[in-house]
């Protein structure tokens, strides 16, 4: 069986986008059903793709050459589809969350009587299309194009309520900040194309013997000469690091890593289902996914890996501290999203390819769940988002409460919920490679570990404030009920947030010393990612004895005592810290009328509440540095460049207006001029010819 249906996975939501845009206003639910049908179809097709990949098939095909086709050109630009274990897994995540979010939107948007719904569903459809196409893009340029398109959809959907003041401004900020990162990404894409065009037929492809990660690997390894590469005078490895960091600019912007994380909290101005889909589970994951997609390229560069790990670890801690003091439920979730993506970056940078992808998957489930749960609470609270005005919702909304609790336990990393397994693996990878290879990774690990109790604390502060205690406002005393269309997605995601971790129980495997318990695989995801297209799989990246991270970055596992002891120590440490944080958050705020204990932080709280003045310094950078610089450049352009051009033209204008006066219109004058000219010519020829 082949993958002929693969294009339809992305094209179905595109059709729903077109339907919602054109005839959505005349449809019963304003385009929602088209979106549900399309994303449901994508989900089924993705499941089919996963089944085939599980059977050992892969798909890497060029569909369309859209530039440079024909003889005599070095570089062809193409659209293609790459389905391997990584992209198949991500296809499932994206189409599943998109499907559930469409269903949830029936409750959050349709039932609440919002206007402009065709526009909303068109946006969701376009987003789902772009994201799916990004996920199975076969080359870097295609990935970049859809990366930009998801950014556009994010802008459209954050600014959905464009008649209010805040959403359009938040949308603009999100667009500009991510675009700043994408600028570097674009330079990186061009750089990759230029560098590898001489050495391979398909310099931008992600997979295959001629793809850029494979060529880069061969060059660094020495089995291929660097002569055909354009490295602009750098050593190949140094140049690959530079290119990798340029692409990383786009990753940092899209995955909201420090210092380009400032847009994500503001993006919460958009509708809550949009926050769940775009700003938690999928679009923000695009950055991390891109690093995983071209992991072979980063793996040959130890500096790039170290930077990824350090940025990730720092962001994890940094964002978690800000989440502690926020009052609005979606703000807390936004900072926790930034923090969790930090963990994924930490894992990827520390050589934990599987751990990073695992956390990406579990996070997509539990964070989408938490956002949808928050959406359910917001419906019930008549669009009030301040947690201090909630309280006591536990009895009134049991489904929301229990699913939200599952998501919170997963986020906090409590055994045996999904987040525990993935976060533990992230920290374990960082720890062993830190011990074995570089103290730099140990520092990143320490930050990641420190963020664990903070995460658990703010998570349970949020749960207690929202659901426990007594109702603090009239809205909380008499919440608005939610229907099946809200509960159904919550239950599905709640189950996933509970059980998704069982896909990869590394500590259990170490403890039992066997990878299967009877017929049940204990590390299914591990096996899933280990095999795939030649040169583009976890086996090659990190697992094998001759793996890329081991060969080129020198990542070797180091242990305290034995491997088992280290595993248990790491798991115990992160679980213990998470439990301490969770209990502290629960105890401090589980009161009928809780007080804000973070007030005790004093001026530190102000700093945290104002996000370490990140917005302020970025505005200052824009207004105080960039704007004057741009003004200076403008003055140079207007004065010097335009001045020279204008000067040349005014000289010729002036001389033209003088010289034309010899054109008198009187025939005798012309005759005289001709005669004079003849005489001058004669004299000149005579003088030069030596007649006199």
């Amino acid at each position: 069986m082949s993958f002929e249906y693969a294009p339809a996975i992305a094209l179905l939501p595109l059709v729903s986008f077109a339907i919602a845009l054109t005839v959505g206003s005349r449809m019963p639910k304003k385009g929602a059903f088209a979106g549900i049908a399309a994303t449901g179809g994508s989900l089924l097709l993705s499941l089919l793709a996963v089944r085939q990949v599980a059977g050992g098939e892969h798909h890497n095909e060029e569909l369309l050459v859209w530039a440079g086709a024909g003889a005599g050109t070095e570089l062809e630009l193409t659209f293609g589809i790459l389905i391997d274990p990584l992209s198949a897994l991500m296809l499932i995540i994206v189409s599943l969350v998109a499907f559930l979010v469409h269903v949830f939107s029936l409750g959050y948007m349709n039932d609440e009587g919002e206007v402009g719904l065709p526009r909303y569903y068109a946006g969701l459809g376009l987003f789902t299309f772009s994201m799916l196409a990004f996920v199975y893009a076969s080359n870097l340029l295609q990935a970049f194009m859809f990366f930009e398109l998801v950014g556009l959809c994010s802008w459209l959907l954050i600014g959905f309520w464009f008649r209010e003041a805040a959403p359009p401004s938040a949308a603009k900020k999100a667009f500009l900040v991510t675009r700043f990162g994408d600028f570097f990404f674009l330079v990186g894409v061009v750089g990759v194309a230029v560098t590898f065009a001489g050495a391979t037929e398909t310099p931008l492809a992600f997979a295959g013997a001629e793809s850029f990660p494979v060529v880069a690997e061969e060059v660094v390894e020495g089995s291929m000469g660097a002569g055909e590469l354009a490295t602009f005078g750098f050593a190949p490895q140094t140049w690959f690091t530079i290119l990798g960091l340029l692409v990383l600019g786009g990753v940092v912007g899209k995955s909201a890593q420090f210092p380009l994380h400032t847009w994500l909290p503001d993006a919460m101005e958009g509708p809550t289902p949009v926050s769940a889909l775009i700003h938690a589970a999928t679009m923000v994951a695009a950055g991390v996914f891109l690093v995983a997609r071209m992991y072979g390229f980063y793996a040959v560069s130890p500096q790039a890996l170290a930077i990824i790990a350090f940025v990730g670890g720092f962001t994890a801690l940094f964002a978690a501290t800000m989440g502690v003091v926020k009052d609005e439920i979606k703000q807390v979730l936004a900072y926790s999203t930034i923090s969790q993506y930090g963990y994924m970056m930490l894992a990827l940078g520390a050589g934990g390819y599987i751990a990073g992808v695992f956390h990406l998957m579990t996070h997509a489930f539990f964070k989408a769940l938490l956002f949808l749960g928050a959406g359910s609470v917001i419906i019930a609270m008549h669009h009030e988002e301040d947690m201090w005005k909630m309280g006591g919702l536990k009895q009134k909304m049991p489904v929301t409460y229990w699913t939200f609790l599952a998501g919170s336990l997963a986020l906090a990393g409590i055994f045996p919920f999904a987040g525990f397994w993935s976060k533990d693996e992230v920290l374990f990878e960082a720890l062993v490679h830190g011990l074995g290879a570089s103290p730099f990774l140990l520092a990143a690990y320490a930050m990641g570990l420190l963020a664990v109790p903070v995460t658990a604390f703010y998570t349970f502060r949020m749960v207690s404030l929202t659901f426990h205690g007594e109702a603090r406002t009239e809205a909380a005393e008499d919440p608005h009920g939610v229907r099946w269309n809200v509960k159904f997605p919550l239950v599905v995601l709640g189950v996933l947030a509970t059980v998704a971790g069982f896909l990869n129980m590394v500590p259990v495997v170490k403890l039992l010393g066997a990878s299967h318990l009877g017929p049940i695989p204990l590390e299914a995801l591990h096996d899933w990612l280990a095999h795939g297209i030649e040169g583009v799989n976890a086996e090659h990246y990190t697992l094998a004895d001759e793996s890329l991270t081991h060969e080129f970055a020198g990542y070797t596992a180091g242990y305290v005592g034995s491997e088992l002891v280290t595993t248990l120590l790491s798991a115990g440490l992160s679980l213990g810290l998470a439990v301490v944080g969770a209990i502290a958050g629960y105890r401090l705020y589980d009161a009928p009328d809780p007080t804000e204990h973070t007030d005790r932080l004093g001026s530190m709280k102000t700093v945290l509440y104002d996000n370490y003045y990140q917005d302020e310094y970025q505005v200052w950078l824009a207004e105080g540095v960039t704007a004057p610089l741009a003004q200076l450049a403008n003055r140079f352009d207007q004065g010097v460049v335009d001045g020279v051009v204008d000067g040349v033209s005014s000289v010729s204008l002036l001389s033209g207006s003088r010289v034309r006066r010899i054109q008198t219109g009187v025939v005798s004058n012309y005759a005289a001029l001709i005669t004079a000219g003849l005489i001058v010519l004669l004299i000149a020829v005579g003088v030069l010819g030596g007649w006199f």
Partner: protein, 101 residues
């Protein structure tokens, strides 16, 4: 008895200068036309003189062509002068000065 070629050239130059003087000083269009004829004939004299000097008939044939051209030119010139007279009521060339900057 052969006349030396320098004499012909002097005659030709004299006729040419008379024609040129006429063009530069006269305002009457008919005088203009006549001056142009004089200059053309100065060239003809040169053609014929050199033709005889080199013993080659080409120059004489050219002189015949110039005569024919001059006749055609006069026909067009007279036409222009007629139009000039119709528009300005005079044949003064300095009156028609519309085509300028």
């Amino acid at each position: 008895m052969a006349v030396p070629v320098e004499y012909y050239l002097l005659l030709s130059a004299a006729v040419f200068c008379v024609g040129l003087f006429g063009i530069l000083t006269r305002r009457n269009a008919l005088m203009f036309l006549m001056s142009v004829e004089l200059m053309l004939n100065a060239a003809n004299i040169n053609f014929v003189a050199f033709s005889q000097y080199w013993g080659n008939l080409t120059g004489q044939v050219f002189a015949l062509f110039v005569l024919a051209l001059a006749a055609a030119e006069v026909a067009i010139g007279i036409g222009i002068i007629l139009v000039l007279y119709r528009n300005f009521g005079d044949v003064d060339v300095t009156l028609a000065r519309e085509m300028r900057w």
